[in-house]
């Protein structure tokens, strides 16, 4: 069993000691002076006593904390007074995050967090260890390492090449995947049995240009609060001076203000808002730059790993087999410039969450076509049956082939034509009127609020009318909102999008669906509208929502999603049984049917009594192997109820009557 780093014990001891020490100090003063409970000499002792207790506890905690990473699990025992023992099976680990915030990094320490699918908080935290140790833990707890361990227990050549190449080649009978183009992508038996090539390839690395653009276009939610913090620090002076420039003297008091003429007031308000937004933007730029400096995304087989940060360094892993949804984020500015950001959500506590409101973490900013390409690859890799067919409709015909060497020639994203998504179905037309009404009601409430405020304070009553100025914009706002909402069903996924200022496009593979919820608020019922939510296990964002469609459409969608979930899961079960059967028969397990080419003959023997759901074994199994030839029509036809050889499948969709 290992211990945490001694330096972290020292830091924690100092911290704990200072905390309790100062508590003792103030407590002592209070008790001695104010409450006169204790004589001064005794009270003076409380500070060092507190210090000793605090430091002592932390030192004790250090000595009582131990962990061990074995092949199967992570074991953590801790606790000074009450002992706690936690065993986390490595299978359950979704993400391993290593963070090195400024102070810890300066001290040469790193914090490791293990996240699992259960619960919304971190399962185990090692605070803090040596950076090399942190990297080792991150690597060894991931799916890649596990597979290699299993592989070394197995025997065939195919195993090794599968482990490294499978993720890359599985979906792509045709068309190279940007991600898989690395040297070892060619999975068919070219690795030596003993060679474990660590083929990590860099999928994406942010260029200086992109980092600058990213900083400029991101608005981090945290930044909205920071200017207020700056006010007592001298911001107040700036504000006063700025307003004086416009002719308003804040120090004269509110009653004075009420006597100023409306134009000056309006100018003042505008100036104030402008200054605030500028401050927010500047803070955003700095924060984003610091946070995403040196961003890199690497792929090792079935695992993605990102790394970022200038002052504090942060990294995290994303196991591709556990991907729940993929989310594309584009704010207004990004859309204009042709960029997008990507977030890959797993079932654990949002991968790489650091309270990111702005940039998504898997790819903070990239040329839109490239990002879509990567999204497709990630989704394809996440379905280990290899049957995921990322729909072409996700992007237009001009999606580029892969991440260009963004460092080298810093292409302007504007050169790539903005990709249109014609296939999205919009919400119902009447939803637009609904949004207009919603905005007007909102503005009305603001007016009422301002009116009330003007009664109680010195605010001029005219201020209550300010929201009315914005009212004519509501139809435009409603239209924009409506236009950027939509959904699209493909064979294997549901794609939804929403938001104008920050458009989020979510792609949910159907086999990740958990529950389907059709909801209608009281207002939606008046407008005969409904919303459909496709829930998945990823805790960030909670699933894809289809807004404001007609009730019939909502019901259709609900049924369709459940159907396709059923189909998809049957497919996966069959593929899994295939794999197991092949492994048992000792043919060298091939995770992706694409790799092996001897399948059609073997399938004739596959007859399982319990397959009450799949009466046509041969046809459907051939479909599984046919996939290897990237025969997309095969999949499509099967789902539609027609075998590759043309005979209709009764399938398990037998009528009940």
């Amino acid at each position: 069993m290992r211990r945490l780093h001694p330096r972290s014990a020292a830091v924690d001891a100092a911290q704990g000691g200072l905390q309790l020490g100062s508590l003792g100090l103030f407590g002592g003063f209070f008790l001695a002076n104010e409450a006169s409970v204790l004589p001064f000499s005794v009270a003076l002792l409380l500070a060092p006593l507190g210090f000793l207790l605090g430091a002592g506890y932390q030192v004790g905690y250090y000595y009582r904390f131990s962990y061990e990473l074995s092949e199967e699990e992570l074991l953590v025992t801790s606790g000074v007074v009450g002992r706690q023992r936690r065993e986390i099976p490595l299978e359950r680990v979704q993400n391993v995050d290593v963070s090195r915030p400024a102070l810890k990094r300066a001290l040469g320490l790193a914090v490791v967090r293990f996240e699992t699918a259960g619960g919304s908080s971190t399962e185990a935290t090692l605070d803090a260890v040596d950076p090399d140790e942190a990297d080792r833990l991150q690597r060894q707890a991931g799916p890649e390492a596990r597979r290699r361990r299993e592989g070394s227990a197995g025997d065939t050549t195919g195993e090794a090449s599968d482990a490294t190449g499978d993720g890359a080649t599985a979906p792509s009978g045709s068309g190279g995947s940007a991600v898989g183009d690395a040297p070892a992508a060619n999975g068919v038996g070219d690795a030596n049995p003993g060679a474990r090539v660590d083929d990590t390839e860099v999928v994406y690395e942010i260029s200086n240009h992109e980092l600058r653009v990213l900083s400029a276009v991101s608005f981090r939610p945290g930044a909205f609060a920071i200017p207020f913090v700056g006010i007592p620090l001298g911001g107040e002076d700036l504000v006063v001076r700025a307003l004086q420039f416009v002719g308003i003297d804040l120090r004269a008091g509110l009653r004075e203000l009420a006597r100023l003429d409306p134009t000056t007031l309006a100018l003042g308000a505008v100036a104030l808002v402008a200054a605030y937004l500028l401050a927010v933007w500047l803070v955003s730029v700095v924060l984003t730059y610091l946070q995403y400096y040196g961003f890199r995304l690497e792929r090792t087989g079935d695992e993605l790993r990102y790394e970022r940060g200038l002052v504090g360094r942060y990294s995290g892993t994303i196991p591709l087999g556990k991907v729940q949804t993929v989310r594309l984020g584009e704010n207004v500015l990004m859309r204009q410039l042709g960029y997008a950001a990507l977030a890959v959500e797993t079932a654990g506590y949002a991968a790489g969450s650091g309270g990111d409101g702005g940039s998504e973490t898997t790819v903070p900013l990239g040329v839109r076509g490239d990002v879509l390409e990567l999204a497709r690859d990630v989704l394809a890799a996440s379905d280990d049956t290899g049957r995921y067919k990322a729909s072409e409709e996700l992007s237009g015909p001009d999606a580029s082939d892969g991440f260009a060497d963004s460092d080298a020639d810093e292409p302007t994203a504007a050169e790539t034509a903005p990709v249109a998504d014609p296939a999205f179905q919009q919400p119902a037309e009447r939803a637009r009127s609904r949004y207009v009404r919603r905005y007007l009601i909102g503005l009305g409430l603001v007016c009422v609020g301002l009116f009330g405020a003007s009664r109680l304070t010195g605010l001029p009553t005219a201020a209550a009318g300010l929201p009315a100025l914005v009212a004519p914009l509501t139809p435009l706002a409603a239209r924009l909102k409506w236009r950027h909402r939509g959904y699209h069903e493909t064979e294997w996924s549901l794609v939804t999008r929403e938001g104008f200022w920050r458009r989020r496009t979510r792609i949910v593979p159907v086999f990740r669906l958990q529950t389907v919820l059709v909801s209608r608020t009281i207002f939606q019922r008046r407008w005969t509208l409904a919303s459909v939510t496709a829930d998945t296990a990823s805790s960030a964002g909670g699933g894809a929502v289809v807004y404001d469609v007609g009730p019939e459409q909502a019901e259709e969608l609900r049924v369709s999603l459940l159907d396709r979930l059923d189909n998809a899961l049957s497919e996966r079960r069959r593929a899994a049984r295939e794999r197991a059967r092949r492994a048992a028969a000792g043919e060298g397990p091939s995770r992706a049917p694409a790799v092996s080419d001897e399948e059609p003959g073997e399938h004739a023997e596959t007859a399982r009594g319990d397959e009450h759901r799949e009466p046509q074994h041969d046809g459907s199994d051939a479909a599984t192997s046919g996939e290897g030839r990237a025969n997309d029509e095969t999949e499509f036809q099967w789902v539609d109820g027609v075998d590759p050889d043309g005979t209709p499948t009764n399938g398990h969709h037998d009528d009940e009557g």
Binding site: A117, T528, S560, D566, D640, G641
Partner: protein, 187 residues
Amino acid sequence: MVDTNVCLRRFRSPAIEPLTSPARLRNGVQLQTLHPRVRLVWIASTLVSAGFLAGFGVAGDAFGIRLPVGPSPLALFGGLAALVGLMGVVFAVLRYRVWGYEVRDDSLYLVRGVLTRRVSSVPFVRVQHVDTRRGPVERAVGLASVVVYTAGSRGADITVPGLTPDRATELRERLRELAADSDYDAV
């Protein structure tokens, strides 16, 4: 769009303009309703909140706290308490009328919600486990709930309240069986 001819009929409901009529039979979809006494359970919880509010009022009055403008704390909080209580009763009645569930071939189908009507479909393949639960009020009234757990983030725990203990046990066992039979695939 998917060719709907192949769609499983068993998922279909003739449905559509769902959930406006409180009848047991809604647009041809037969739903199980809850036990009428569940309304008491719901009302009881609002009464607790109302009680707290009234308590604040009484306490405020006792301490002699007065707001600069407006009625005395007792009147204010008392009024609020009465309002909350009344609304609680109304909501409980409406909720009871809306609530319905059905165990279908491949999923659990639920209808609930007064302000926001929610129709949930929980596929059995996604059910992790099923519990029965009896809170203190439920026990007093002689009812129980069944809780269905999935891995989802929004609809993670689905509770079917207002069942008699026998019915709850029966439902729980049935759901467990269906979940087990469906070749459960968690995530």
